[in-house]
């Protein structure tokens, strides 16, 4: 396995196939927790953390347990089960050993349990037939992409909060508009990876 392939996977997960802006997964934390830079960064790191953990746990289960026994179709149910349990476990461990991290992640950690971006990444890793290391790198990239999208969007939102849109656009509509424009901006990355690395 060469490093170049891993870089391609990483870059494409962060920029080209950004899970929020190109694949429209994890929209609800993207809109819900992006009001302030601080909370968006907190959410972003929580997502990176849980995505990595979820992938490291679900990939072996899918490959060595489900597929060996012809139970591949149980993927979604089992993954949801495992992610939810994992998030709970992480919460318990953090509360005991790293209380500072526990309090700073706060409410975002339990929110992760039902985040579609997490489930999306774990399932995409299986569908794209990634190897174990590739899957982990892809999860890391997806998490970083989420963080990037959150930080950029919270910056935009701090401006739209101050702006004076027509009354009918106030609040969520103008937020959705700016999300759409940001998503269009990220569309500009498509093709960059293919041309840069020739793959």
């Amino acid at each position: 396995m060469d490093v170049k392939a891993l870089i391609v996977i990483m870059m494409s997960a962060v920029l080209v196939n950004n899970y929020v802006l190109s694949q429209f997964l994890g929209i609800c934390p993207f809109l819900g927790a992006s009001k302030e830079l601080k909370s968006s960064v907190g959410m972003g790191f929580a997502v990176i953390f849980v995505m990595l953990l979820a992938t490291t746990a679900t990939w072996p289960i899918q490959t060595y347990l489900l597929e060996r026994n012809g139970l591949g179709y149980l993927q979604t149910v089992v993954f949801i089960l495992i992610i939810a349990a994992l998030v709970q476990l992480v919460e318990i461990v953090l509360r005991k050993y790293v209380p500072t991290l526990y309090t700073s992640l706060g409410v975002y950690l339990p929110l992760m349990a039902t985040n579609c971006a997490i489930l999306g990444v774990t399932i995409a890793n299986i569908q794209k037939e990634h190897l174990y290391l590739e899957a982990v790198v892809n999860a890391l990239g997806a998490g970083l992409g989420f963080l990037l999208a959150m930080v950029i969007f919270s910056g935009i939102r701090e401006h739209t909060e101050n702006a004076d849109p027509p009354p009918s656009f106030k609040g969520i509509p103008v937020t959705l508009f700016s999300a759409a424009i940001l998503s269009l901006a990220f569309f500009g990355f498509s093709g960059v990876i293919e041309n840069m690395f020739g793959s």
Binding site: N69, L71, L74, L81, A85, L89, K96, N162
Partner: protein, 269 residues
């Protein structure tokens, strides 16, 4: 049929393993929580305003039971009744509840005098960024009422383009303090009867031209204060409340009326 059984059994097995893992982890890594914390949180107002200096009501509750000698009278929105309840739960003597309210340090004599017409975004924050606001005085109330929505108790109203605190509604939580781009609002102890309602640090003559109520740093109050509690710093009167005897003399003699008494109805409660 066989397929269904296998699927059901395997999902149940995975679920059971997860459940067992979680319950073992919960037992092994249980964190002891003081049952007083929940009771304290019940009596606190729950607005998470941060006036106590701790991150939210639960932060204050945790600090109280930690045994680090945290005072029970730090919750200003709760007032005397909360102090009493907290002291009962913790079994300590109740400290004196100090009632605090927000004070807008501007009397707004400058509202008439504009240095320009401002037609931009109608918020204090936005207008402040354009040459420090439309008013001649760049230290005073900008008048677009950014503080008004910040108040959860409806205690701020705009009168003649100046933010006014309705003392009866104000709990002293301090959420408006952050909203003001000119840092005009402070949370003051109601026992501090006289307050300087000006933040203009320009020289007397300049300040006077811009605003009829500006503190011109004339030193009259500093000379006449019987307790010697008033000093002039940056062309602005400053009252040292450690020395102040609440004689209210300064408020009577101030030539521009920028030293004022806190509203009497605020003091009564």
């Amino acid at each position: 049929m066989n397929m269904i059984v296998i699927a059901v059994v395997s999902v149940t097995a995975i679920g059971a393993v997860c459940a067992a893992m979680l319950s073992v982890a919960d037992k092994l890594m249980a964190v002891k929580t003081d049952e007083r914390v929940a009771r304290i949180e019940d009596c606190l107002p729950g607005t998470n305003c941060g006036a106590c200096g701790f991150p939210g009501c639960s932060g204050y509750a945790a600090a109280l039971v930690s045994g680090n000698d945290v005072k029970t009278n730090l919750c200003t929105p709760g007032g005397a009744s909360v102090v009493k309840q907290l002291s009962e739960i913790l079994g300590v003597e109740a400290g004196e509840a100090t009632r605090k309210i927000a004070v807008v340090h501007c009397k707004g004599g400058c509202t008439q005098l504009k240095k320009m017409d401002y037609n931009g975004i109608q918020t204090c924050m936005a207008s402040k960024q354009l040459f420090g606001g439309a008013g001649a005085c760049t230290f005073g109330c900008l008048g677009y009422g950014d503080c008004q929505p910040a108040c959860p108790h409806g205690a701020i109203c705009m009168e003649n383009g100046i933010a006014q605190v309705i003392a009866e509604n104000c709990t002293g939580c301090g959420l408006c303090v952050k909203a003001c781009p000119n840092q005009l609002i402070t949370i003051d102890d109601v026992s501090e009867t006289a307050v300087v309602l000006c933040k203009n640090i320009e020289k007397g003559a300049v300040a006077r031209k811009k605003c009829t109520n500006a503190c011109i740093g004339c030193r009259k109050c500093a000379r006449e204060c019987p307790a010697g509690a008033i000093t002039i710093e940056d062309n602005l009167a400053k009252i040292d409340y450690e020395k102040c005897t609440h004689c209210e003399h300064c408020a009577e003699i101030c030539v521009t009326h920028c030293i004022q008494l806190l509203a009497p109805q605020a003091r009564r409660r």
